[in-house]
């Protein structure tokens, strides 16, 4: 059981980091009142490709920076289009399609089918000081990916920014467009900043997704995580704490799904006495399992079942 929990925690930590990062960015975007970005999926993919290329060229940290830059470009596109008054859903779908297509295109130009995939150096891992010494449960804490450390740090920083800096206060105020404008806040500037933050964080999340554990890019590798991020932000009610908790929840389910594939049944459940059917089951169970069903006569239909169109009598009663 402890081994199961350790495995679950390990896989949940790995998949939580990108969700937390992209979720924090999306939270900034939604708190500033600039709508929501449906295109996180595309940004994640472009960030992942940029991360792998940067990491292969100049080390994993360069990969993170490359992912951030790729995300910034998409964030800028979103901000400009939203400021021009384009439909937000359309921008999101555009970014989603174009990002997925562009990353696949560039990847297949750089590494065509049949040639070896690009393999990039991975991000380093750090142990958690106190928890890594635990006997069995310490295993997942012994090598926590730098991506998760970064995500936790970003969560703390963004909570602080939103709550107690002038920038955060005005960004939240920009959500209430007209009032903020009356108070002399340049709404457009704060929404642009929020969109850039959202794009950059989604790009870094993509880079962490690719360079954190795998070290290579595959087309469409994000596998719908970008849309999961939107769900994370919604169930987290657009707060930092909620986003982190929601990301951990989804990451835990991700880990459970991965673990479920490693075992075909639940032998502990099957053997335990609580699940063995007792001899005196519920009375309704008995006739179904007995070989000769009790000869209860079928109840004769007392009156014909009405068909449609209803009989004339019924129609008359309806119209009367």
């Amino acid at each position: 059981m402890t081994e199961f929990v350790a495995l679950l925690l390990g896989s949940a930590f790995v998949s939580a980091a990108p969700l937390i990062m992209a979720g924090l960015g999306e939270m900034f975007l939604e708190r500033s009142g600039a709508g929501f970005n449906l295109g996180i999926e595309g940004i994640l993919l472009c960030g992942a490709l940029a991360g792998v290329l940067g990491s292969a060229a100049a080390g994993p940290w360069a990969g993170l920076v490359a992912g951030l830059l790729a995300g910034l470009v998409w964030g800028l596109l979103y901000a400009v289009c939203a400021a021009l008054g384009l439909d937000i859903v359309l921008i999101g779908i555009t970014i989603s399609i174009a990002g997925a297509g562009l990353s696949t295109y560039v990847f297949q130009v750089i590494a065509p089918t049949g040639r070896t995939n690009i393999s990039a150096p991975l991000l380093p891992t750090l142990p958690v000081p106190g928890l890594s010494d635990l006997p069995v449960l310490g295993a997942p804490f012994r090598a926590l990916g730098i991506g998760l450390w970064l995500a936790i740090g970003l969560a703390i920083v963004s909570a602080w920014i939103l709550r107690s800096t002038r920038f955060g206060l005005r960004l939240r105020a920009a959500d209430d467009g007209e009032t903020a404008a009356l108070r002399g806040i340049a709404i457009g500037r704060y929404r642009l900043a929020a969109a850039l933050i959202a794009g950059a964080l989604a790009g870094v999340a993509g880079a962490v997704l690719a360079v954190g554990t795998i070290g290579s890019f595959t087309p469409l590798m994000s596998g719908g995580r970008g849309f999961l991020v939107l769900a994370v932000v919604i169930i987290g009610r657009r707060t930092t704490r909620g986003v982190v908790a929601g990301a951990l929840l989804f990451a835990g389910m991700d880990g459970l799904a991965l673990l479920a594939q490693t075992r075909d049944r639940f032998p502990t459940l099957r053997r335990s006495p609580c699940c063995v059917p007792t001899r005196g089951g519920r009375p309704t169970d008995r006739p179904r399992s007995s070989p000769t069903p009790s000869p209860t006569p079928a109840r004769p239909p007392s009156r014909p079942i009405p068909r449609y169109p209803a009989p004339k009598r019924m129609r008359q009663s309806l119209t009367a």
Binding site: G85, L86, G101, T104
Partner: protein
């Protein structure tokens, strides 16, 4: 039947509905355009192996962006004309 048999067609259907601006006949035209972009890009990859088929997805994205801009422009013009009438 394979797990990915739909291949994102549902998502593309949304795009087609937008491109056709929710009217039946234009939706047929938009569907033909999107489908020809997909199959045409496969043909491009067959004819010139250096070009991946995902160029079709990029083209779809650019097309959608252009249509979104055109929609925003027409709406703005209509609003301006409405304001001028008042």
């Amino acid at each position: 039947m394979t797990p990915g048999v739909a291949g994102g067609i549902g998502f593309t259907g949304l795009v087609v509905a937008v491109l056709g601006r929710s009217r039946p006949v234009p939706i047929v035209v938009a569907g033909l355009i999107m489908a020809s972009l997909t199959t045409g890009s496969n043909g491009i990859q067959l004819l010139s192996p250096g070009t991946p088929a995902s160029i079709g997805a990029v083209t779809q994205g650019v097309l959608l962006l252009a249509v979104a801009m055109a929609l925003a422009l027409t709406q703005r013009n209509r609003a301006r004309r409405g304001a001028a009438d008042d």
